[in-house]
């Protein structure tokens, strides 16, 4: 059985991993290579790092930070930020990234996904799309400069698949950092989109992740803040998901299966043993 993936989403600003709130406010978390090292040890399935400054400055993600992190990373490592040329992608891959995350350039020219696929294989092209609900509460693409993608998310996913993207990463600008749960109502009951869809933004509790993983159209959930502030956070989340009936990989040599967790996923003290008779 192909397992559903738990992806760590690490936004980068000024060379540091940050916690993001609504894509507008950010709190520093720490160095990329240290975050990668820990998340890997805790059994995460994949790591996505996106330099959020890069999109505005046109500068590619900090390559030296990527290289340092890639040395530690024993799981697939996708990196993005300001990639708009094949050469830019090549530099990221040469620094140790396994996949490239592209957003603005692919929205303006979906054929760019195919061009990257021709050079590096479509498995390494992750097309990112930002969504937000409009006044009527219908989720629409947040327009990026020159975007020609259809505003309907499912139509945009289909367009990205046709143009050669290997995976799609959906982020929700409104739910980002809210901890109130992931909001992708259009995926409810949606058919298999034919390529892996990763959803992100808003996970505050393991239940939120479980709700998404039960959807057929969702291959992976990307989590940021929920993983940043607790030791062994990944193992806790996965242990919860296993108990909730989600088929996720849990290969770490301890699994907290016998430990109850509080609402934030932190372990509660063990129950006292029954007195010996």
């Amino acid at each position: 059985m192909l397992r559903k993936r738990i992806v760590a989403l690490l936004p980068l600003r000024g060379g540091l991993v940050v916690q993001s709130f609504g894509f507008a406010r950010h709190l520093p978390v720490g160095r990329l290579d240290i975050a990668v090292d820990f998340l890997d040890e805790w059994g995460v399935d994949e790591i996505v790092a996106v330099d959020i400054d890069a999109g505005n400055s046109g500068q590619i993600a900090d390559l030296r930070a990527v290289e340092r992190a890639a040395r530690k990373c024993r799981v697939p490592f996708a990196v993005g930020g300001g990639v708009s040329t094949v050469e830019g992608a090549r530099r990221l891959l040469a620094s140790g990234a396994d996949k490239v995350v592209v957003r603005t350039a692919v929205a303006a020219n979906p054929a760019f996904a195919g061009e990257l696929g021709e050079h590096f294989g479509d498995q390494c092209v992750v097309a990112a799309v930002d969504l937000a609900p409009d006044e009527a509460g219908v989720h629409r693409l947040v327009p990026t400069p020159g975007s020609i993608l259809p505003p309907d998310p499912l139509a945009a996913i289909a367009a990205l698949k046709r143009s050669g993207a290997g995976e799609v990463l959906l982020q929700n600008r409104k739910a980002d950092g809210s901890r109130a749960g992931l909001e992708f109502p259009f995926l409810d009951g949606a058919p298999d989109p034919g390529l892996p869809v990763i959803v992100a933004s808003g996970a505050g509790r393991p239940e939120h992740v479980a709700a998404m993983l039960r959807l057929r159209a969702v291959a992976a959930v990307a989590i940021g803040n929920l993983l940043s502030h607790t030791e062994h956070s990944v193992t806790h989340v996965k242990s919860f998901l296993r108990r909730a009936g989600c088929d996720v990989r849990l290969d770490t040599n301890f699994d907290y299966a016998a430990v109850d967790a509080d609402a934030a996923g932190r372990p509660l003290p063990a129950r006292p043993k029954a007195p010996a008779r």
Binding site: M1, L2, C124, D192, D251, F254, A270
Partner: protein, 255 residues
């Protein structure tokens, strides 16, 4: 449950190792307490002098190099035919399309040294993903193309039953037979796959592990000193690291 797990999952009885000094401060009493140590996966992995990762412009050579170095292998990336001929062990990575891989090996004058090393010098080699596929007989990826022919599997577009999406991306478990290369990897452990073409399983003796994704395909193959993995051991965390350590061990014991 390992001792480490027991320590982490159990409420720690502090009376065993905390005491109160005369001043009322908490102090450590280390004599009755042994610190836990989680042995690294690569503990005891034999070191081999040099492993050459074949660079034919189609592979995540850096990831493979880092992964091999983590298990104590002095790995380096090279496209020099002399390096390939001299290497005690080879790794053939690969990400991309089959025809381009074969064309690149030819264009970079690597096909002959690779054949010499593997077929005549019998250098142990591990093919990964596309590297595994080009070790086969042929592929139908963008037309019909012949491979290196070290295995007789034929690479085909995956057509999983039940309309599962292709490419097959993510962590999947494998069914394996006991072999040195998979020794110590727990039953049901998952590996990271990322591919749209595969070799359908045909119950051949060289099939060490198969994976099921709407149909069974070859996940790991071995013919004497030739090893081929459809998944990415360099991106499969502990299970992958163990497999690379086993490969290093096999190389070291055959030297």
């Amino acid at each position: 449950m390992t001792p480490a797990a027991g320590h982490l999952a159990r409420r720690v009885d502090r009376s065993q190792w905390f005491g109160t000094s005369a001043l009322g401060q908490i102090e450590l009493l280390p004599s009755t307490w042994t610190p836990i140590s989680i042995p690294p996966v690569d503990a005891g992995a034999p070191r081999i002098s040099d492993c050459v990762i074949v660079d034919y412009e189609l592979g995540n050579t850096l990831s493979v190099m880092h992964a091999l170095r983590r298990v104590g292998v002095a790995a380096r990336v090279s496209r020099d035919p002399a390096d390939i001929l001299r290497a005690p062990a080879l790794v053939l990575p690969g990400v991309g399309a089959f025809a381009k891989a074969m064309a690149n090996l030819d264009r970079l004058d690597l096909t002959v040294p690779l054949r010499c090393a593997v077929e005549e010098r019998r250098t142990p080699i591990l093919g990964i993903c596309l590297g595994m596929q080009i070790m086969g007989k042929s592929s139908t990826e963008y037309g019909y193309h012949e491979g290196l022919g070290w295995f007789d599997y034929e690479i085909r577009r995956m057509e999983p039953a039940g309309g599962l999406p292709v490419p097959h991306v993510g962590w999947n478990s494998v069914a394996k037979t006991p072999e040195a290369i998979v020794e110590g990897i727990p039953e049901g452990a998952s590996f990271y796959f990322d591919h749209g073409y595969a070799a359908p399983a045909r119950r051949r003796a060289y099939e060490i592990a198969t994976c099921d994704y709407g149909g069974s395909f070859v996940a790991l193959a071995r013919r004497e000193h030739i090893f081929a993995a459809q998944f990415h051991p360099e991106k499969s965390q502990d299970a992958g690291q163990k497999l690379l350590a086993n490969f290093a061990g096999i190389v070291a014991s055959s030297l």
